[in-house]
Amino acid sequence: MLRRQMPALESALVRLLGDRRVLTSPDALLAWECDGFTVHKSRPRAVVLPESTAEVQAVVRMLGAAQVPFVPRGAGTCLSGGPTAGGNAVVIDLSRMRRVLQIETADLFAVVEPGVVNADLTAAVKHLGLHYAPDPSSQTVCTIGGNFAENSGGPHCFKYGMTQDHVLGALVVLPDGSLARLGSPAGSRLPGSPDLTALFCGSEGTFGIATEITVRLCRDQESVRTLLGSFATMTAACRTVSDVVAAGLVPAALEILDQATIRAVEASVYRAGYPADAAAVLLVELDGPVAVLAEEAAEVRAAFARNGALRVEEATDPAERKRLWKGRKGAFGAMGRLNTDLYVLDGVVPRTRLEEALAGIAAIGSKHGVLLTNVFHAGDGNLHPNISYDGRDAEATARTIAAGTEILRLCVDLGGSISGEHGIGTEKLDHVRLMYDDADLAVMAKVRAVWNPDDRCNPGKALPSRSACAESAKWPAMTARILRDEGSA
């Protein structure tokens, strides 16, 4: 029935947006068949490219009349399959809605459209001595709308917080095509009004489509100091992190790369001069007033020394700072050298259990015979174990999935979470039950049904056991089978 409706629906969408903003040919749809989670691929039925809130509303209403599901999408840099559409769904691509609508320098907020690229917002306010703080690794490409939907993090969220901590309000097109204005530039709400903006943030595009987003702007810091310590053991690097935090310091970033990552980076175009013989490097970035940073940098150096750092480097100018960050920012790209595919995990553990978690992850990697590397936000306990594998090899893919599932289970067993910043998407649908029981999930489902009662808005994402289409269900079915097998073992 849906197929029969397609020509009429397509015609109507073309009448609304023009034929250059409605894509339906298989070749044209190729670019939308997956996000950064390339394990799960599924070509959508069509892609539309609206340029205004009114157009988004009109598209959503049109799709509602035809009972066709839809999937909002920004730059498609998500790493969990969140914006990957099933074959009967239409992708509403918001990348053409990229205007910065308002910048308030006195009251420190901006209103942007969802397709504004994260780094472009900072570029737009840089001359005013301001910046937008959340900085996912993909910030030169990813959009504020996608960040809002996923509650994205980044290296600097140890000090500055996640996207949720920087979003004050939003104009949202609900799945029935009506509008809701959440929050306000003042952030605060009327007494008795729950925080709908915070709830919407991280709902993975299942509550509606934000078409205007009000975000906080932060003053640039007077000074930045970036230090890199290299260590003979991962334990020493982790203990340095603990020492820095225990000293009451709040660095802007605390990032660790393990030896396998260092070697991949140093062999790649992202080469940063990291010592290839080190078991780990720890990148510490401090920001604040000049006088304060001198004291703090001395304390970080002392922590490095106490834990036997092999070498300590400090950036003395912006070019040096860029070099020290180059390896970290390019780490995921560098892993392209290791194999054809990369599965980026995103578990969280309490920071004090990092050593235990990393030992467990190494053991899991050995058990399944997979190539594991680790790059992580050490200050937050947010691990990114990366498994490099050949996706054309079904057996290798199965081992990769099994290892990933065990790693996430380990994170939960250590008191943590299955995702720190990448979201559930389709990737972790069945892992959600590692953290939540039926009662918890029932409450979340009730909350979603208030926004999205007929589940047409990004169906089959974020929560298990909903009406995922066959294509979307393929990956979760694999993980579900592994979880089942583990349970019966």
Partner: protein, 351 residues
Amino acid sequence: MNGAGAAKSFVADDVAAVATFLRERPGQVRVRSGGSRQGRLPTATDATVLDLSRLSTIVRLDAADQTCTVECGVPRAALDDALRAHGLELPCPGGGTVGGLFASDPIGASTFGGPSPRSLLLGMDAVLADGTPFKSGARVVKSVAGFDVHKLLVGSEGRLFVATRLHLRCKPLPRHVQWFCRTGLEPAAAIACVRGLQQEPVPPAAVQVLRLGDGSCTVQGRIAGRLAYVAHVLRSHDLPPGEPSWCDHVQAPAVGEVVVGAAVLGALPGLWRATPTGTPFLWHGGGRFEVAANAPAASDALLVACRDAGVHALVVHGDAARRGRSTPLDDGHHRIQAGLRQALDPHGILV
């Protein structure tokens, strides 16, 4: 004082008792922990008060991870003492019990003045109005697994579910803290003073502006950080050190009303013009403001000014018939909010 005007109350001795009590279908229920803000809630004379003040255990304090889990009836001061012993703090202002602080969100989540309750709430254990326990969020400082139902607690005034335990993020105690209090300012000078502080790369950890009955303004707050930096900020903004005189709320007038709303600093001059001189007006850096209006007409004039400025405001204290009078609500927002109430508490138990 329970504030609900209710005759009946149930004191929960532990978390399980909350679920048991709600499963027994007690009719309408008003949630109360410390009770300090009950006078600002709508009256609920037929409700049974569910008193959570005995849920006062700090369940877990993991100093190294800088997180803790507390029951909702833990007094803020008790948590502060416990955290201080480990070199930590909950870095947002606000008193009463911890549960009451998060449920009322008295400061707001705006652009200025330190972390807000929203940012510090990592997860919770809670009970639906029908007695079903559930949890949301996590105990670690980052988690995006599942929907953040726990964030609905912030500002909900206990009318969506009953939170029993909260997982919170703490921060290291600053090396140095100095409260400041600059009094006797003309309104324009007060705005300029706060604007100046906003230019600092590390803004005050808390700030508020209080316009007093005589029309003069006080700017007060807390600067935290290294001694040299704190001294620099105090000196460069001409801020005299002062004893902490922080107030979460304006004092409700014996006759009159309290209007509460949310506004950025830039909206204050317009709102001040709409309130008669002599009307106490408190603004938090987090965006929340409170006005002690001496008559309904003054509240109404302020609500009109708020509406015209695109500012949300609501009468929270005064004659029962006028409580809840507000600027127009966005239809979509109202629909979602009402839908959440219907979904989580379909029988309207929590009032």
